[in-house]
């Protein structure tokens, strides 16, 4: 995990100093406990802050796509708009719905938010900024992120609202289908990288990102992953479960206040999670752009801290997702399923096979030009 260049701005310097001080002064149990708490607090804060930034960014970028200015009243350039929105959501009354299934109704938002938080924890934000580094990281991420759908289905079922119900059922069908594609796309890269661990995967992409390494096959997997990831987060043009013009707000029609806030937050965070997994798996994660043999260049690149690289790459993908979202009309449920089952899934399966062949025959870039990378 150690790069050979000096990286003065890295946070890992701080974290390792903190770790050694704690361990030097306290017993291992206490040191670990304090570290766990610290990590949890930092993650939760980051979760909220990233969501707020994303909400602001989305509103602003959307506005610019639509020949508007977007929020520009609260703070300079409307920077505090999402903070104001958050305060508003916190202050709002939580409405109780007649004849709803009270327990499930209240439990549903937690499923949603916990699922996205569990995934959030496994993301490598930068060197040393990686809370859990499973050796089955990819598997873990796909597994826990799919818990969120339970929240959506429960919300639809328990709201005692027909719009919610239709929205939730759509969401179920959509999620089950697209989870498949997303999983296969990731598997394609696992074949290429030969590991499921995020840290090893990133390290392996030092000189050649996976998207280039597996060239044609990787690019296809990348596009498919973006599409299905987009669909999994229920964002336009795949926002059928919410489908504002059809189902008013879909599965969260009956939610208000903080409960709605949970859904709102989770939606934005899921967008970030999808983008960051794509970054990690396809675009080299937090790894700076490095060229084999160009030491000067590599040193300059390494001066830029790894977390900046990570957030930069993720931001590009998020922008792409926004661009797509605000360009297209919404799909109908049968179009949605067609796209998955008639196009994405077969292409994906062929692609997986192709990748296996590429790897076995050594037709990957690193296989073809071993000297360059």
């Amino acid at each position: 995990m150690v790069l050979n260049y000096s990286q003065p701005l890295e946070i890992s310097n701080l974290t390792s100093w903190l770790d050694s001080t704690l361990r030097g002064n306290l017993s291992e149990f206490w040191a670990l406990l304090i570290e766990f708490v610290l990590v949890a607090v930092v993650l939760l804060t980051a979760y909220a802050v990233i969501a707020l930034i994303l909400i602001y960014a989305e509103r602003k970028i959307t506005a610019f796509f639509q020949a508007r200015y977007g929020p520009n009243r609260v703070g300079k350039w409307g920077l505090l708009q999402s903070v104001a929105d958050m305060v508003k959501i916190l202050l709002k009354e939580i409405v109780r719905i007649n004849r709803s299934d009270r327990f499930l109704f209240f439990a549903a938002p937690f499923f949603m938010i916990i699922a996205s938080m569990l995934t959030f924890g496994a993301i490598a934000f930068g060197k040393g900024l990686h809370a859990i580094d499973f050796n089955i990281g990819v598997l873990y991420v796909t597994a826990v992120s799919s818990l969120g759908i339970i929240g959506v289905l429960l919300a639809g079922w328990s709201s005692n609202n027909k719009y919610s119900m239709i929205g939730a059922m759509r969401s179920g069908a959509q999620f089950v289908s697209y989870e498949l594609s997303a999983g296969f796309a990731l598997m394609t890269i696992v074949v290429l990288a030969g590991t499921m661990q995020f840290s090893t995967m990133i390290e392996g992409q030092r000189y050649c990102w996976n998207i280039f390494n597996g060239h044609i096959s990787s690019i296809i997997a990348f596009v498919i992953y973006l599409i299905s990831g987009h669909a999994e987060t229920n964002r336009g043009p795949f926002d059928l479960p919410e489908a504002e013009s059809e189902l008013t707000a879909g599965y969260h029609t009956e939610y208000s206040g903080l409960q709605f806030g949970f859904y709102y937050l989770a939606e934005y965070l899921n967008m970030f999670i999808i983008a960051s997994i794509a970054t990690t798996v396809f675009l080299g994660g937090y790894m700076p752009i490095q060229v084999h043999g160009w030491d000067g260049f590599n040193q300059i690149m390494a001066y830029i801290p790894t977390y900046v690289w990570f957030f930069g790459k993720t931001a590009v993908l998020i922008f792409l997702s926004l661009w797509v979202r605000w360009s297209f009309p919404r799909l109908r449920i049968d179009q949605l399923l067609n796209l998955e089952w008639k196009y994405l899934l077969p292409i994906n399966l062929v692609n997986l096979l192709l990748m296996v062949i590429l790897v076995l025959t050594g037709f990957t870039l690193t296989g073809l030009f071993p000297g360059l990378f």
């Binding site: 796509f65 020949a67 508007r68 200015y69 661009w323 797509v324």
Partner: protein, 165 residues
């Protein structure tokens, strides 16, 4: 066309159409934004002269208006927006004369159809483009158009509202 080539041509024309759509939004991303920045742009805001926002009764520098309290505007108003209250006074030469007491206009009821202005025989009222009419209570929407202590002006003078408006 065989179904295989149909499958692929469908796929590619689809992708092409989507790219085309994205190119349009990309271009629009950089175009000039059109949102009006009200109220910051109040100084530069141009409201067309003919915009009907508020009924007014122009008064000249001697606090005189042209309303003879004939009540034609009140009769013509489809919604009962206008109430012309007149009073009888005795002029110096002993004649009885009807003059305007209060001219009430209810902004909340008005549909801005301009019939009152069109039918007014003495061109005493007109619509102004002062559009900031929001108030907090309904009662404030009732406006008295003639000023305190105003009088009817004599006929000979220049009309208060220039012709052609």
């Amino acid at each position: 066309m065989s179904s295989v080539s149909q499958y692929f041509s469908g796929l590619f024309t689809g992708i092409k159409s989507l790219m085309l759509g994205m190119s349009v939004t990309w271009k629009e991303l950089w175009t000039k934004k059109v949102t009006q920045q009200y109220p910051e742009n109040r100084g530069t805001l141009v409201i067309s002269d003919r915009f009907r926002a508020e009924l007014t009764m122009p008064h000249d520098e001697n606090n005189e208006h042209a309303c003879t309290a004939c009540g034609i505007c009140q009769m013509n108003c489809p919604n009962g927006t206008i109430t012309v209250n007149s009073k009888m006074i005795e002029t110096e030469d002993g004649k009885k004369k009807k003059i305007l007491d209060t001219y009430q206009w209810d902004l909340g009821m008005c549909t801005f159809c301009n019939l009152c202005v069109l039918t007014c025989p003495s061109d005493a009222i007109k619509f102004e483009n002062t559009f900031e009419n929001a108030v907090f209570t309904r009662s404030k929407l009732m406006q008295q158009l003639n000023h305190e202590g105003s009088k009817l002006r004599e006929k000979k003078k220049e009309p208060l509202i220039p012709k052609g408006e």
